[in-house]
């Protein structure tokens, strides 16, 4: 299946976007009276302009580009956090546009792991409770929740920090808790927006190693400015003004 940009959506793709556009309106549309009085419609901004891509399992795709190029918007569209104005997003054969608001929330819970630049952990809960929280929604029993959260925290090297609150952890440790939280529901796709943006270089490298491990049995999409972050990607898409300006494969990135 080929789209207008010649991007092939492979059957094994975890998530694929086809001719996706996202247009934001600046301000509200004028009402009938305002239109009669000659008020023109508000200006629009095209954040993502006719982008197509497919991300397969065990693949890390990087989204690069200057601020305002549309990489975060594209990331949100792939994660089901944002509706495209045009085009379709398909996740393991399911078109996201067909899902209700509640259905999309459930879809994210079951299939998507999200890592934020600013971690967004609940300061009042321990690291383990933060990681286990999404499992409550899945109806997982208390003992299993605690066990799975503990396992994941041990996996990211925080086995001795499970009862610590976020305020008692370093930036790198907090980001590892956030990664553990993103993985706790065993999602098929993990998206991360500037995952090392708040971290020093050494801590950032540790986190990137985590992402490489994360990608062993799932698809990962990273949006970043950071060269080192983008270096771990199998494919890199450079965006400019909402469009893909350049596609680079792993050999070309590291070469």
């Amino acid at each position: 299946m080929a789209n207008s940009h010649g991007q092939t959506s492979t059957p094994s793709a975890v998530v694929s976007a086809s001719d996706v556009r996202k247009v934001y309106t600046q301000g509200s549309n004028p009402g009938r009276i305002a239109r009669a009085l000659g008020r023109s419609p508000p200006p629009t901004i095209s954040a993502v302009d006719t982008v197509s891509l497919a991300v397969s399992q065990e693949e890390i795709v990087g989204l690069a580009g200057p601020s305002g190029s549309g990489k975060s918007t594209l990331l949100h569209i792939l994660a089901g956090l944002e509706h495209p104005t045009e085009g379709t997003v398909t996740f393991q054969g399911t078109e996201l546009a067909a899902l209700s608001r509640r259905g999309r929330t459930r879809h994210r819970l079951e299939h998507i792991g999200i890592v934020f630049q600013h971690f967004h952990l609940l300061n009042s809960l321990s690291a383990r409770a933060n990681v286990a929280l999404p499992l409550v929604e899945l109806g997982v029993g208390k003992r299993q929740r605690r066990q799975r959260a503990t396992d994941l925290l041990e996996r990211v090297g925080l086995g001795d920090r499970i009862t610590h609150r976020p305020g008692e952890l370093s930036g790198g440790e907090r980001q590892r808790v956030a990664i553990a939280r993103a993985l706790v529901t065993d999602p098929a796709l993990v998206v991360a927006d500037e995952p090392t943006g708040e971290l020093d270089t050494d801590t950032g490298r540790t986190i990137l190693q985590e992402f490489q491990r994360v990608a062993e049995n799932r698809a990962v999409v990273l949006a970043s400015h950071d060269r080192e972050t983008l270096d771990i990607c199998d494919r890199l898409l450079r965006l400019r003004d909402g469009s893909i300006a350049d596609r680079t494969s792993r050999g070309e990135i590291t070469g």
Binding site: L81, T105, E110, H120, E137
Partner: protein, 417 residues
């Protein structure tokens, strides 16, 4: 089907438990906000309990006063209104009260009919620069029960015939306990009482006893004197007005039947039972009742506004985390449950503290009212008031939380990330 229900129940229980843990954990982190919200609700509850208790106390005190008066019916010619120029007294619009009361006494079933008059007067014991304004109360010998705590009772007053000046006066009065204490007046002392400042220096009376009966009724210093002397010092011997004629029916008479009989005989007068008279007096205090109602509404509104704003602040501080959790797929219902949990805790704590503060506040207010207006037990509370107050507090907390929770559920995750 059963498995699905069980899974749903387990999931709901886990959500509730998690929401509870989140609520407690959030409060541990935000002790100041919790404290402020609890204080806000506690103050609102305290305002409500005290205002309701004051209302109860007024009703109870009023009822007690009527019971103490030992009367069955009250006759007035117009509204029983507190007047600005009456110094806390009543309008005396029931004219020729002695003749009228004698007439009424002749009706079947009536044991006695006694006029009772109030007006402003001045009391001078010769030791202060200016006479003190007091409520003068005129009673006849067979008048309502005047409880004398010290000294003797007033003599039965003679009825004016043609020339009031021919009637011999005894020049004896009772004064209330507080006035006696304040002005250092004892039984046997001589005081001057008059309807005007000048007259108060010329007309001397002997204090024959101490009685606080009418001080408790009017809430002001009182001088009680025979009705004929009252009319003389107020310059109303020609019309002999009274505020009320109080009627006691015979033991075997039916009060309602006597009331109906009097109503048909005297359609120009209001004939009220004790309960009706109390209601009429209270209804005339409509401004005060409206003010009390407005204060309750204000206290409630302030409690809701304070709790909503504080919970909104709490939610605002957590907006990015809530947004991140929603983005992660955590349903808004869990977050709303958490916010409602916070509101419930605030409501229960605030309500409990407000109720706990009520008894000492009631004691304090009663001491103050006793000191200022002379009423004892003006503020009286009841167990149901506490229950209603806690219910209102929980309602405030929950409704505020629902508003804050609704705002959480309405916001899209990306708005805050």
């Amino acid at each position: 089907m059963i498995d699905r229900s069980r899974r749903w129940a387990n999931r709901s229980l886990a959500r509730l438990q998690t929401a509870g843990r989140l609520t407690i954990a959030q409060f541990r982190q935000q002790k100041l906000q919790l404290l402020l919200a609890v204080i806000g609700v506690a103050l609102a509850v305290l305002a409500i309990t005290l205002l309701v208790s004051t209302g109860l106390g007024v009703l109870e005190t009023g009822q007690e006063q009527f019971d103490t008066a030992d009367r069955d019916l009250w006759v007035t010619s117009s509204e029983t209104r507190m007047t600005a120029d009456g110094g806390g007294g009543f309008e005396n619009t029931l004219y020729d009260s002695r003749t009228l009361s004698t007439e009424m006494e002749s009706h079947d079933g009536i044991s006695d009919a006694v006029p009772l008059a109030f007006d402003m007067a001045y009391l001078d014991n010769g030791e202060t620069d200016e006479p003190q304004s007091v409520v003068a109360t005129g009673v006849s010998g067979g008048g309502p029960a005047v409880e004398v705590t010290e000294g003797g009772e007033l003599p039965t007053d003679p009825h004016f015939v043609d020339d009031p000046e021919e009637v011999e006066t005894t020049r004896e009065v009772l004064i209330d306990q507080e006035t006696a204490r304040t002005h250092n007046i004892s039984v046997g002392d001589t005081v001057s009482v008059g309807g005007s400042l000048t007259a108060a220096q010329d007309t001397q009376f002997t204090v024959v006893g101490i009685s606080s009966t009418f001080e408790e009724m009017s809430g002001a210093p009182t001088v009680t004197l025979p009705l004929n002397e009252f009319h003389r010092i107020t310059g109303t011997t020609e019309t002999e007005p009274a505020t009320f004629i109080t009627i006691t029916v015979e033991d075997d008479a039916d009060v309602e039947a006597v009331q109906q009989d009097l109503e048909s005989a005297y359609p120009e007068y209001e004939i009220r039972s004790n309960q009706e008279q109390l209601s009429a007096v209270l209804q005339e205090q409509v401004i005060h009742l409206a003010a009390a109602g407005a204060l309750i509404v204000l206290a409630l509104s302030a409690g809701v506004a304070l709790t909503v704003s504080l919970l909104s602040l709490v939610v605002y501080q957590q907006r990015q985390t809530f947004a991140a959790l929603t983005a992660q797929g955590v349903s808004s219902s869990l977050l709303i449950c958490t916010v409602i949990g916070q509101g419930l805790v605030i409501g229960v704590l605030g309500g409990t503290i407000g109720v706990a503060l009520t008894p000492p506040a009631v004691i304090g207010l009663n001491r103050l009212s006793e000191l200022v207006v002379g009423f004892e037990g003006l503020v009286q509370t009841a167990p149901w008031v506490y229950g209603v107050a806690v219910g209102i507090a929980v309602g405030i907390g929950t409704s505020a939380a629902m508003i804050a929770g609704w705002r959480v559920s309405r916001s899209a995750p990306l708005d805050h990330l």
